[in-house]
Amino acid sequence: MSATPMLDIDNLVIRYRAGLFAPRLKPAVNGASFRLVRGETLGIVGESGSGKTSLLRAVLRLLPVESGAIRLDGEDWLALKGDALRRARQKIGVVSQNPFLSLSPRLTIAEIVAEPMLAQGERQGPAMREKIAGLLADCGLPADFLDRRARELSGGQAQRVAIARALSLEPGLMILDEPTSALDVSVQAQILNLLADLKESRGLSMLFVTHNLKVVAHISDTLLVMRRGDVVEFGRTEEVIRAPAEAYTRELLSFGRR
């Protein structure tokens, strides 16, 4: 295990801007600090409105940060701008909740998976097509999916395509935003197993956001529990689940068991 963590977040504050004369809003994320060790999975749990999505969007640089620091692979992630940021984005692969919304309805699967590679200046051609077929195979899809469109796929298949796209630039970090919430329970398990396999074979670090503690207990090494913008718990998954320090975590856990 290398010394620099994959992701190091220090005292991050995110606050949405209200109108010019409106009173300042309470921060959506209030001083979150945590680190994600290389090759591990960090689960972020919380009910809706807990700030987990804001935190995620800040890490993705979709949301401005009020204060604090984000270091990705030892680099000051918040300092990057413009083209440098655009190029650096290849270090992060993103999978979002609904694959049918996150895959363009107009493009073929091959075009969708090729897009990040083309954006980073790779050449189109047989070699790329081969690589895409390989990525699809890694995600458990046959090569004849290449020329199909997202709407012809099932939810699980489409999510596998989204995962293949996220992997196309060989990122060190995968950010997964409720990747199984839109899927059937049986398919959920398959996707979770796929993610576990990929993490193993590719040495990925993962940030896994969900409101489902059961799912996260299955896949993550460390757990971060958020409530109303505050980090209420952060520790090894087994410990948090065995001995939850906060009443809120216990509450979430009991929901998971029911």
């Binding site: 979709l62 984005r89 363009s104 107009r106 954006a119 980073q120 796209r165």
Partner: protein, 279 residues
């Protein structure tokens, strides 16, 4: 055919037929006009202001030219007018709307306030002012109308882009490091293009009507080129005694404008249904 009727309804199909007919007439003008030379402008003074007859189905004008031939040749001018006005408007409006919607913030504010300036004037008045300032002529009248027309496309494009920009697949492209121009070309433009082209096709009718209004006021094409609006104007001096001179081109304008309007309604209804079904 039955499928077409099912999708557009009878009035819509009929309107589509009329529009197609006029397009064919415009293309085939020299071959179907009874007196092609007169249609193109050659005078025929031995038959001045004749009423409709077997020789001259719709009568003749003050230079003895066959009005049917003039109307047939005028179809070319009018349809080209309509198409070019819409094309110019799209050419300006689409990029403005795309940029405003996609980049948002001050770019949006600046572009849309600029657009509002044009929308603040009554469209026809602005077109007349522009045409008067530029002087009469085919291209000038097109520019004059396009100037009042493009803000609508800018607004339409902007509205479409605002919806698209928030789509997760557009965000996914951004997160994959795809550049702005590429996102616009690959994701935004194809999706905005379709509703906008439908709208543009429907706008050919009203655009053509506005162009006819300009040439009625003497701000459109110059004689001897045949133009419906200009013919109505020229016939006014002989109205009502030689009623056919103004009435025939006037009726033509009426039919074409109505056909486009009915077709537009039919397509809009069909379009809404299709949009609901596919998303």
């Amino acid at each position: 055919m039955t499928k077409l009727v099912h999708r557009l309804g009878w009035p819509g199909t009929l309107a589509l037929g009329i529009v197609v007919l006029f397009v064919l007439v415009a293309i085939l003008a020299p071959w179907i006009a009874p007196y092609p030379a007169q249609g193109a402008g050659a005078p025929n003074v031995i038959a001045k202001l004749r009423p409709p007859s077997a020789d001259y189905w719709l009568g003749t004008d003050h230079l003895g030219r066959d009005i049917l031939s003039r109307i047939i040749y005028g179809t070319r001018v009018s349809l080209t007018n309509g198409v070019l006005i819409v094309a110019f408007s799209l050419l300006i409006g689409l990029p403005v709307g795309l940029a405003a919607g996609y980049f948002g913030g001050w770019v949006d504010e600046a572009l849309m306030r600029g657009t509002d300036v044009f929308l603040a004037f009554p469209a026809l008045l602005l077109a007349v002012l522009m045409a008067a300032a530029l002087g009469p002529g085919f291209l000038n009248s097109i520019i004059a109308v396009a100037v009042t027309w493009w803000p609508w496309y800018a607004r339409l494009a902007r509205a479409e882009v605002l919806v698209l920009r928030g789509q997760p697949y557009v965000e996914a492209a951004r997160l994959a490091g795809v550049s702005h121009p590429r996102i616009i070309l690959r994701h935004i433009l194809p999706a905005t293009g379709r509703p906008l082209t439908v709208q543009a096709a429907l706008d050919v009718g009203p655009a053509l009507l506005t162009a006819a209004a300009l040439s009625f006021l003497g701000l459109g094409v110059l004689p001897p080129t045949a133009d419906w609006g200009q013919m109505v104007d020229a016939g006014r001096k002989f109205f009502p005694a030689r009623w056919w001179y103004s009435a025939m081109p006037g009726l033509t304008i009426f039919i074409v404008a109505l056909a486009f309007s009915v077709l537009g309604d039919a397509l809009r209804e069909r379009k809404g249904g299709a949009a609901r079904a596919s998303h």
